[in-house]
Structure formats: structure tokens, C-alpha cells
């Protein structure tokens, strides 16, 4: 209990200390997680909406694969990106390993199936309900997909929040492809691992509290947007 109270006090001190390193870590954490969720949303939302509204031969198999990938261990995603961008890998020349770019790519791989899978599930039922009306009004193509996205928006926001939660909480992939380099690729989760390894439990816990607080603020903002609409 004393440790927790100390950690709370440490977390408060961390925030008000305006320590450059801590704020750098927070900024990089937000940049990487928001960017990866945004990129995954740009790809995943249209894909999920389309998958939810069409049927084809191998759709069941495809959805099974996507649902499996929703639980993809972050270290596996990290390993894939590591192999691809390591100096002996097919894209080694890009020299992005141990940079925030590689961290974003790894996180996109992790959160993309979450967004596609949850959006597909959310839009599938709506699509069935809307289908006859849309055909009767001769609404099709992009217009139909936009309408489906509009009608599924609450569930889609939940999907994005779930995806963001996965991005901000994962440590394996960012550690592997980012390398936890001070001032360059260190994010909240990798910093917590480092501090724990050094035996600085209170500082690690304090970082954890700050991480939880950031997550809470982002969730609150997204839910406010959802409720306002």
C-alpha cells in the first residue's frame, strides 16, 4: 500500500516536474500510438465496412484468419517487422529499424485486425437491415458504404478505442523494433520495463499511472465525441 501511495506521489511529481525526458517519452508514446491507430483506421474501416456488407466464397475463412490475428502476440508482429527491416531483410535498405517509423508499422500490424474484425462485426447486422431499403432507393457503391459507416458509428468508435487501447498498452513490438533507445524510441511501456529491471518499482509504477491517465483522457475525449453526435 505504501508503495502505491509513493508511486502516486511520484507520478504527480513526474507530471509537474516538466522533466524533458519524461515529456519526451509521453509525446513519443502519443505520436506512435495515435499515428498507428489512425493509419490502421484509414485502411481498416473501409475494409471492415466492405467485408461487413458483402458475401463471397472464402469470407468465413478470411474472417477466421482476421479474428485469429486480433490476438496476434505483439512480439510476433515485432519479429516480422524486425526481419523485414533488418539489414539482411528485404527492406533493410530503408534503414528504419530502431526508429519510431518501425514502431508505427509494427503497431499498425497489431491493431489493423482489431479494427477490421470489430468493424466487420458491427456493420454486418446493419448491412442486412439496410440492404433492401438501399436497393429500393438505388443507393449503392461508396454512398452505401458511407451510410453503413454512419449507422455503425458508435460500434466503430468502440472498435477504435479498443484498437488504441491495444496500441498504447503493448510493449513487445515497440521494444523489439524500437530498441528502447533513450530520447529516440523510448515510450511509456518500454520505460516501465526498463525501470522495473533497474529495481525502480515506484518510478515504474508512477509511469504506469501516467500511462493509465493518458489512456483515460483519450477514452473520455472519444466518448464525448460519440455522445455529442
Amino acid at each position: 500500500m505504501k508503495s502505491f501511495l509513493n508511486a502516486l506521489s511520484e507520478a504527480f511529481k513526474l507530471v509537474i516536474s516538466f522533466d524533458g525526458e519524461v515529456y519526451g517519452i509521453i509525446a513519443l508514446t502519443l505520436t506512435v500510438t495515435v499515428l498507428s491507430t489512425a493509419v490502421a483506421a484509414l485502411i481498416g474501416l473501409p475494409l471492415g465496412i466492405m467485408l461487413g456488407s458483402i458475401n463471397f466464397k472464402v469470407k468465413k475463412l478470411l474472417m477466421r484468419i482476421i479474428n485469429t490475428l486480433m490476438g496476434l502476440p505483439p512480439v510476433v508482429a515485432g519479429l516480422i517487422v524486425y526481419i523485414i527491416f533488418s539489414s539482411s531483410g528485404p527492406f533493410g535498405r530503408a534503414r528504419i529499424l530502431f526508429t519510431p517509423t518501425a514502431m508505427v508499422i509494427a503497431q499498425v500490424i497489431i491493431v489493423l485486425p482489431v479494427i477490421v474484425g470489430l468493424t466487420e462485426a458491427a456493420s454486418r447486422t446493419k448491412s442486412i437491415l439496410m440492404e433492401e431499403t438501399c436497393r429500393g432507393l438505388q443507393i449503392n457503391g461508396v454512398k452505401k458504404y458511407k451510410l453503413l459507416l454512419h449507422e455503425s458509428r458508435y460500434a466503430v468508435v468502440s472498435a477504435l478505442l479498443t484498437a488504441y487501447g491495444r496500441a498504447i498498452s503493448e510493449v513487445g513490438a515497440v521494444m523489439m523494433v524500437g530498441g528502447n533507445i533513450q530520447y529516440r524510441t523510448r515510450v511509456m511501456t518500454t520505460a516501465i520495463v526498463l525501470e522495473t529491471g533497474k529495481g525502480n518499482f515506484e518510478r515504474a509504477l508512477a509511469l504506469g499511472i501516467v500511462l493509465l491517465f493518458i489512456s483515460f483522457v483519450i477514452n473520455s475525449v472519444m466518448q464525448s465525441i460519440q455522445e455529442a453526435r
Binding site: L129, M130, E132, T133, C134, R135, G136, L137, Q138, I139, L147, H150, E151
Partner: protein, 198 residues
């Protein structure tokens, strides 16, 4: 304008629900389709609207000698009401043009729904939602209008408005209106020809 049905057969899970040798719907006329539950009224409408394919036979739509399937507006029995305002719902099928809003407002006015134009359509009663769905279908100005029980949830006053609106479609042009109903008196009031399914 003419719709010709030839040798239409449709079954569901081995049960024959529709078997029509020959049926023609002529332009400038209102048709009512009558029959008990399960007689194939909705299936017939869905086949004409192109929502469903028959197991056998074909639907030919002749528009001034040319075949055309894109001039159909169809109101399903359970229309989907979108989570947006009434006016936005009615404008959904219209192109994005300045005159579209005035057309949508006119359509709502004809069905007595103009006062609700800024209300969320989901907040309306069953009858209100049905009138919005009907306004949304009729505003499209299509040559073929297919309505599956367009007045099943509305009150007597609104039924009159709906019937007047449907009649006005025919008087304006060489359109075909086909609707299903369980109300024999309604069929007699507005239909030129009644089709009975068993």
C-alpha cells in the same frame, strides 16, 4: 411503359410460393396485389423490383420500347429508417442538387410530415416512420413505383394523404404503381386493377 412477367416460379425450402404464367402491368395504372399471408405478394414485388431472382422465368421492363431496370423505386415492408433527421432521410436517394431539398420538403408536405423535418426519424412513431419511408421512395420520381404495404401502420387521415400522393404519381406521367395491401376497400379506392394471389 410496361412490365411483363413470364413463367415466374419461386420456391423457398421446397415450398412453391409463386407460380405466374403470364402477367402484364401497363403504364398509367395503379395495381394492387391482394392475398392472404404467405400468398407470395412480397415475393412478387421483390422479384419485379429486382431484389430477388426467380427460380425460373423472367421480368421484362419495357420503357418506350427499350428495356430498363433502373427506373424502379421500391418500398420494402420493413423499411430501414436511418439515424438522421427526417429531411436527411428523404433526401438520401436524391442527387446532390440545390432543388433536391425543395423536392424532399414537397414530398414531406404531401404526407403531412413537414413539421417533423428536423426531427430525428428514429424518434417518430411507427406510422410517422412509415410516412417518411414512403416520402423517401416517392420523391425519387421513378417510372415504376413498388410499395409493399405502404399504409399498414398509419391512421385513417394519413391513409387519405398517402392515397392522394400515389394517385398524383399516375396523373403526372405514364408510371406504374404496384402496391400490396390487406385492405380491400383501399384497393378499391385507388387501384385501377387488382391482382389476387392465392
Amino acid at each position: 411503359m410496361r412490365i411483363i412477367l413470364q413463367d415466374i416460379v419461386k420456391s423457398y425450402q421446397g415450398r412453391l410460393v409463386l407460380n405466374i404464367k403470364n402477367m402484364t402491368f401497363e403504364g398509367g395504372k395503379i395495381y394492387s396485389v391482394l392475398g392472404p399471408n404467405g400468398s407470395g405478394k412480397t415475393t412478387l414485388l421483390r422479384i419485379i423490383a429486382g431484389i430477388e431472382k426467380p427460380d425460373n422465368g423472367k421480368v421484362i421492363i419495357e420503357n418506350e420500347g427499350k428495356s430498363s431496370a433502373c427506373s424502379i423505386a421500391y418500398l420494402p415492408q420493413k423499411p430501414y429508417i436511418f439515424d438522421m433527421t427526417v429531411i436527411e432521410n428523404v433526401m438520401l436517394g436524391l442527387p446532390k442538387r440545390p432543388e433536391s431539398e425543395s423536392k424532399a420538403l414537397e414530398s414531406l408536405k404531401k404526407l403531412g410530415m413537414i413539421d417533423y423535418k428536423d426531427t430525428n426519424a428514429r424518434a417518430l412513431s411507427g406510422g410517422g416512420a412509415q410516412r417518411v419511408a414512403l416520402a423517401r421512395t416517392l420523391v425519387l420520381d421513378k417510372n415504376i413505383v413498388i410499395l409493399d404495404e405502404p399504409a399498414s401502420f398509419v391512421d385513417a387521415k394519413s391513409v387519405g394523404l398517402i392515397e392522394d400522393y400515389i394517385r398524383s404519381i399516375i396523373s403526372d406521367r405514364d408510371s406504374i404503381v404496384i402496391f400490396t395491401t390487406h385492405d380491400l376497400s383501399q384497393s378499391q379506392r385507388i387501384a385501377d386493377i387488382s391482382v389476387a394471389l392465392e
